[in-house]
């Protein structure tokens, strides 16, 4: 988070803490309602600033999404390569197994 945001966050938090520390038991309802309204406004600003801090990472997430997609694509290529190899090896395997079967029959 930038220093200005950090400073703003601190000011807002200090202000909210000050409102929270007010003794409300003796306050008339109308004043308490205003106090609660003020607290809600400060709270919303604080949360917005905290979220803004997280927003700054959005671009990094986009970059990583691309990297994961690339890795997935490489795995897909590998998967296709395995499929091709299996097809080829299956043919070899078939010939070999026939050979073994033949040898076993001869021994029988």
């Amino acid at each position: 988070m930038s220093t200005s945001n950090e400073a703003a966050l601190k000011k807002l938090q200090d202000a909210l803490n000050a409102l929270n520390s007010q003794s409300v038991s003796d306050l008339p309802s109308s004043q308490l309602a205003n106090l609660e309204k003020g607290k809600a406004a400060l709270y919303a600003e604080i949360q917005a600033l905290q979220v803004m801090q997280m927003d700054e990472r959005d671009a990094d997430y986009t970059t990583l999404t691309t990297e994961f997609k690339n890795a997935k694509s490489e795995l897909m290529n590998l998967s296709n390569w395995i499929a091709e190899r299996k097809q080829r090896d299956q043919a070899i395997f078939s010939i070999l197994s026939k050979g073994v079967s033949l040898a076993l029959s001869l021994l029988a």
Binding site: S30, R57, Y61, L64, T66, F68, A71, I82, Q90, L104
Partner: protein, 369 residues
């Protein structure tokens, strides 16, 4: 005949070689399968946490709104969600891409997704497996071998041809994945954040973290989901504290309402602690996820003969699995507690009704003081 006598020796050697390969591959498959399932579950947990934070924020907004109305105020009624759609979309995309990577990794190591070719291959292997010792008379030189065992050994032959090459090609992808995964884990770790500053430097700057070092060494300033949740809990607890202060000098009639308010102010704080524990455990699970992925690399390196598989490396996958199991339980408890807090809204209504009734019947001790 001399030539034929060599056949059992060759077959035996082939069988032995296949068995070794299968042991390595089984370890890899188990590690990848646990990792893949774990990643999918962890992604779902993180998505839920964002949702729960939003729900908690809504609860605070509603409690504040209601209290202001009870006091006869004119509150701002338009709700602004915590997160914008683009923030959620950026995180959902990376989690979905991470899921896709993990699932594809499992598909490559297990061969399950290459369905058509694999089905036909399974058919061929199945035919071979259907041969049994009854088909042969094994009184001769093959008598040392169990022919069924031989058939099973032969069925692994196709894997034997492919696995070394597959592992060689898989290793660089997984090694690259190590880096990307750690970056994603660090970002999510920062997103989850801290409820308070973890470094003295936070009061004047942002502490420099070595992102290549162990993630447990990261020091954060207050921020992220944990801070947002703490703010929301403090905000809501404060509303209820103020309500309690308002009723402190009221008549005995509303003592039950006061009790409800006390229960609520305590419950919301207890819930805050649980929610923070969930978020902290999620950070620990992210660290375990990175370690589990690293152990997959190590298993592949071992298959390449670059190093031996250590017990500690194998345990990393187990730790991730265990942490995740506890995390899912914790999430379920937190979800239930929040739901119970949201559903206790009628208790709030009774505070208002009783307060208004007290005021209307001349019990004006609140306003008059």
């Amino acid at each position: 005949m001399q030539q034929l006598r060599k056949i059992p020796v060759l077959i035996f050697a082939l069988f032995g070689l296949s068995a070794c390969s299968v042991i390595n591959d089984t370890l890899l498959m188990e590690e990848v399968s646990d990792f893949s399932r774990g990643v999918v579950e962890l992604s779902a947990v993180i998505e839920s946490e964002f949702g729960l934070a939003e729900e908690l924020n809504t609860l605070g907004f509603m409690d504040n709104l209601q209290f202001q109305l009870e006091l006869g105020g004119h509150p701002e009624t338009s709700y602004k969600p915590l997160f914008q759609a683009k923030d959620i979309a950026a995180r959902k995309s990376v989690l979905a891409a991470l899921d896709g990577y993990a699932e594809m990794l499992e598909a490559v190591t297990s061969g399950q997704s290459i369905s058509s070719v694999y089905t036909s291959l399974s058919g061929a292997v199945g035919n071979l497996k259907s041969m049994s010792s009854d088909n042969f008379n094994i009184d001769h030189s093959l008598s040392l071998l169990n022919s069924n065992q031989l058939v099973v050994g032969l069925s692994l032959f196709d894997e034997l041809l492919i696995l070394p090459d597959r592992d060689k090609r898989l290793l660089p992808i997984v090694q690259q994945g190590d880096e990307t995964l750690k970056k994603a884990a660090v970002l999510l770790y920062f997103d989850i954040g801290a409820p308070a500053d973890q470094s003295n430097k936070c009061s004047y700057t942002v502490p420099k973290n070595d992102l290549d070092a162990d993630m447990t060494s990261l020091r954060l300033c207050k921020g992220g989901l944990r801070a947002i949740v703490k703010n929301a809990i403090d905000f809501d607890a404060n509303i209820w504290n103020d309500k309690l202060a308002q009723t402190s000098k009221s008549s005995v009639e509303i003592s039950s309402v006061r009790r409800d308010a006390i229960k609520r102010v305590v419950n919301i704080q207890k819930f805050g602690l649980e929610f923070d524990k969930l978020l902290n455990e999620t950070q620990m699970t992210l660290i375990a996820m990175v370690a589990a992925h690293k152990s997959i690399s190590e298993t592949l390196e071992a298959a390449e003969g670059m190093k031996t598989v250590s017990l500690s490396a194998t345990l990393k996958g187990v730790v991730f699995k265990e942490k995740l199991r506890d995390l899912v339980k914790l999430l379920s408890a937190v979800r239930e507690e929040l739901s119970s807090l949201v559903n206790s809204f009628p208790a709030t209504k009774s505070v208002r009704t009783t307060t208004l009734m007290s005021q209307n019947t001349g019990n004006k001790n609140v306003d008059q003081q």
